[in-house]
C-alpha cells in the first residue's frame, strides 16, 4: 500500500512540475521545475528498484546538466518576445505533433484492452539483489570492449572541443594554476598597523 501511495504522490508532483516547466514565463523557474521533475522521476525509479539509475539521474542530470543549463540561461540575454513571436504561426504544427503523441500513448495504454499482454511486470527481486553490481558486471565484463571504445569517443570529444575552441591570445588573462597553488597568505594579505584616530 505504501509504495502505491508514494507512487501517486511523486507522480502528481512530477506532472505538476512538468506543467510548470511549460507554463512558467521566467526561464529560470522553468529550469528549476525541470530539476523537480528529475528528482521526482528519480524517486519513482527508486520505487521500481532501479536504485543505481535513480542516483545517476540525480547526479548527472540535476547535479551537472541542469546546473550548466541554469548557468547558460542566466548568462545569455534571452529575448522572450522574439522567441514567442512565431508561436501562433506554428501552433498548428504543435497540435499535430501533440495529437500524434496522444494517439501513441493511447496505443500503449490500450494494448491490454486489445488482448495483447505485453505489459507483464518484472518478477520481484530478492532483498540482497544489487542492480548496481549487475550493471557493473555487464559494463566491465561482457561489454568491456565497447565500454572502452566509448571512453575513446569521449576522449576524442574533449580533444576536439579544446583543439577547435582554445585560442592562445597574447593578452589573455588566464589563470596560472601553478602560481595560484604556490601563493601564500603572507604574500596576499598585508597587515598594516595604523594608529587609531583620536577625535579631539
Amino acid at each position: 500500500m505504501l509504495p502505491l501511495i508514494l507512487f501517486y504522490l511523486f507522480a502528481t508532483v512530477l506532472v505538476l512540475a512538468a506543467v510548470a516547466v511549460i507554463v512558467s514565463r521566467n526561464p529560470v523557474y522553468a529550469a528549476l521545475s525541470l530539476v523537480l521533475c528529475f528528482v521526482t522521476s528519480a524517486a519513482i525509479w527508486l520505487l521500481i528498484e532501479a536504485e543505481f539509475l535513480a542516483i545517476v539521474l540525480v547526479l548527472v542530470y540535476v547535479g551537472a546538466v541542469m546546473v550548466l543549463f541554469l548557468f547558460v540561461i542566466m548568462m545569455l540575454d534571452i529575448d522572450l518576445e522574439e522567441l514567442r513571436a512565431g508561436f501562433t504561426r506554428f501552433a498548428w504544427l504543435g497540435w499535430i505533433v501533440a495529437g500524434v503523441i496522444v494517439l501513441e500513448i493511447a496505443g500503449v495504454v490500450l494494448t491490454g484492452k486489445l488482448g495483447i499482454d505485453v505489459t507483464r511486470g518484472a518478477a520481484p527481486l530478492p532483498a540482497n539483489y544489487s542492480n548496481t553490481q549487475e550493471l557493473g558486471a555487464l559494463l566491465y565484463g561482457r561489454y568491456a570492449y565497447p565500454f572502452e571504445i566509448a571512453a575513446m569517443v569521449l576522449l576524442v570529444a574533449i580533444v576536439a572541443a579544446i583543439a577547435l575552441t582554445l585560442r592562445h591570445r597574447p593578452n589573455l588573462k588566464a589563470q596560472d594554476i601553478g602560481r595560484q597553488v604556490a601563493a601564500r597568505a603572507s604574500e596576499r594579505v598585508r597587515l598594516v598597523k595604523m594608529d587609531s584616530e583620536h577625535r579631539e
Partner: protein, 481 residues
C-alpha cells in the same frame, strides 16, 4: 553462449587496437608537455607509433582462422588483419605527405595527429566489428575525429562551412543507422552479427525491408554515394587538403569494412533485399559522379565527384551479391586507396606556402616545368580512369567480371559506358599538363623526400597494374567463399 560459436581466440589478436589507443593517449600527453617547445616531436612520434603498429600487426594481428574475442563483440579473421595492415600503411603515407603542408599553413596543433590516430582506431573497430554495437561505436569514433579534422584550420571560413555540413549530415546519418539497427534488433532480438545472419533467413518482410533500407542509407552516406552524396564535394573542397587525403583514402577502408560486416555478413541471409537497393544507389552514383566531375574546375571537387563514381563501383561489387563480387570490391578499394593517396599527395606536393594548388588549370604546362611529376600524374589519372596497364584497369575489370558472373549484364554494360564518359575529365588534366602552355606558373619545389615516396607510390600503381594477380590472390585468400 552462442550456438556453434567459434572458440574465443587469444587476446593478443587485439594488440593493434590496444597499441593504437595507448599510443594515441601517450602522444597526446607528450604533446601537452613538450609540443610547444619541440614542434615536430608529435609528428615524429606518430610516424613511429604507426611503424611499430605495422610491426605489431604483422606479429600478432594476423590470423589464418576466424576468432571471436570480447564475448563475440570482436572478430579477428584474415580479412581484419589484412585491412588493418593496409590502413596502417595508408595512414603513415598520408601523414608523410601532409607534414610539409601542415607546417606551411601553420596548422601546428599536435591534436591533429592524435585525432588522426583516433580516427584510425575507429576504422580498426569497424574492421573487427562483429556486433551492431561495435559497428556503431566504430563509426562514431571515426566520424567525430573526422569532423574535428575538417574544421582544424580554424581561420578558414570554407573549412568551417564544410565541417558544419559534414557534422549535421553525419549526425543525421548516424540517427538513420541507429533507427535501422533498432528495427533489426526489434525483429531478431540480437545485436550479434553472427546470430543475425542465421536468424534473418526468412523471405522479405515489410519491417525487415524498412530496417535494411535505413541501414543501406547510412552506408551510402558513409561512402558518399548518391543520393547521400551532397557532403562529398563541399567537404573535399573545404577541408585542408591533408584531411581530404585522409577522408578519400584511409576512411574508405573503414567504409568497406562497414558494408562487408553489416550487409555481406550480418544480412547474408536475405541478400535479395539489399542488393537491389545497392544497385539503384550504385547506378545513380556512377551517373552523378561521372557527369558532375566534368563540370568542375577545382581538382579537389573533381576528385570528390570521382570518389562518388568510384563508390558506385565498390557498391556494384557488393550488389552482385556473390563472393567474387566482394573480392573484386576489396581489390577495387585497395587499388583506389593506393592511387588516390598519390593523387592527393601530388596536390600536396605542388601546393606551396600561401598557394593552394587546387585548380585544374594550375596543372597547365606541368610537363615542361617538371617532367617527372607530370609523368606520375599521367599514370595516376590513367589508373583512376581505368586505362591499362595500371592498377585501376584491373580493379574495374574484376568488378565487371563479377557482375557478368552473377548475370547482371546490363549493369556491367552501364559501368563500362559510364567509365568511358568519366575518362574525359581525367584526360583533361593530362591535356592541361602536356598540351597547354605553362604561362608564368613556377617550377615546383624539389622536396626530395616527398618526391621519393611519391615515386614509390606511383611505381606501386604501375607494377601492381603490370602484375595484377598478387593483389587478387590476397583478396581471394582473405575473403574465402
Amino acid at each position: 553462449m552462442m550456438p556453434g560459436a567459434l572458440p574465443s581466440g587469444p587476446l593478443a589478436l587485439a594488440i593493434p587496437e590496444m597499441w593504437l589507443a595507448g599510443s594515441a593517449c601517450l602522444i597526446l600527453l607528450c604533446d601537452v608537455y613538450f609540443g610547444s617547445t619541440r614542434r615536430s616531436l608529435t609528428a615524429t612520434l606518430t610516424m613511429l607509433a604507426l611503424t611499430i603498429g605495422v610491426a605489431l600487426t604483422g606479429q600478432y594481428g594476423l590470423s589464418t582462422q576466424r576468432f571471436l574475442l570480447f564475448n563475440g563483440l570482436y572478430v579477428a579473421d584474415p580479412l581484419a588483419g589484412f585491412l588493418k595492415m593496409a590502413a596502417f600503411v595508408a595512414m603513415a603515407t598520408a601523414i608523410f605527405y601532409s607534414q610539409d603542408y601542415l607546417e606551411q599553413r601553420a596548422i601546428r596543433g599536435g591534436e591533429y595527429y592524435v585525432l588522426c590516430l583516433t580516427a584510425l582506431l575507429g576504422i580498426f573497430v569497424l574492421i573487427s566489428a562483429n556486433s551492431l554495437l561495435t559497428v556503431y561505436l566504430g563509426i562514431e569514433l571515426l566520424s567525430l575525429s573526422l569532423y574535428a579534422l575538417v574544421a582544424f584550420d580554424r581561420d578558414s571560413g570554407i573549412a568551417a562551412e564544410a565541417a558544419t555540413k559534414y557534422f549535421v549530415l553525419g549526425a543525421i546519418s548516424s540517427g538513420i543507422l541507429l533507427y535501422g539497427m533498432s528495427m533489426l534488433y526489434g525483429l531478431t532480438g540480437t545485436l550479434d552479427l553472427d546470430r543475425l545472419s542465421t536468424i534473418v533467413r526468412s523471405g522479405p518482410d515489410a519491417a525487415l525491408i524498412i530496417g535494411v533500407a535505413f541501414v543501406v542509407a547510412a552506408i551510402a552516406f558513409k561512402f558518399g554515394a548518391v543520393p547521400f552524396h551532397m557532403w562529398v564535394p563541399d567537404v573535399y573542397e573545404g577541408a585542408p587538403t591533408s584531411v581530404t587525403l585522409f577522408i578519400a583514402t584511409v576512411s574508405n577502408l573503414g567504409s568497406f569494412a562497414l558494408i562487408l560486416r553489416l550487409l555481406a555478413h550480418g544480412l547474408a541471409g536475405t541478400p535479395a533485399i539489399w542488393t537491389q537497393m545497392l544497385m539503384a544507389v550504385a547506378v545513380l552514383s556512377l551517373l552523378v559522379g561521372n557527369l558532375g566531375a566534368i563540370a568542375q574546375t577545382n581538382i579537389k571537387r573533381m576528385l570528390a565527384y570521382s570518389a562518388i563514381a568510384n563508390a558506385g563501383f565498390v557498391l556494384l561489387g557488393f550488389a552482385s551479391g556473390v563472393n567474387a563480387g566482394y573480392q573484386a570490391a576489396l581489390n577495387f578499394t585497395i587499388a583506389y586507396v593506393i592511387t588516390t593517396l598519390a593523387s592527393f599527395g601530388m596536390i600536396l606536393m605542388l601546393s606551396r606556402s600561401g598557394f593552394e594548388h587546387d585548380q585544374i588549370a594550375d596543372f597547365k604546362g606541368l610537363a615542361s616545368r617538371d617532367p617527372l611529376l607530370a609523368a606520375m600524374m599521367l599514370a595516376l589519372m590513367f589508373s583512376t580512369a581505368g586505362v591499362p596497364p595500371f592498377i585501376g584497369f584491373w580493379a574495374k575489370l574484376w568488378i565487371i567480371q563479377a557482375l557478368l558472373g552473377s548475370r547482371h549484364a546490363w549493369l556491367a554494360t552501364f559501368a563500362v559506358l559510364i567509365s568511358v564518359v568519366g575518362a574525359f575529365y581525367y584526360l583533361r588534366v593530362v591535356w592541361y599538363m602536356y598540351f597547354e602552355a605553362a604561362g608564368d606558373r613556377p617550377v615546383p619545389e624539389a622536396r626530395a623526400r616527398m618526391r621519393f615516396i611519391l615515386v614509390i607510390n606511383t611505381v606501386a600503381v604501375t607494377v601492381m597494374g603490370v602484375l595484377p594477380n598478387a593483389l587478387l590472390r590476397i583478396c581471394e585468400r582473405v575473403l574465402p567463399p
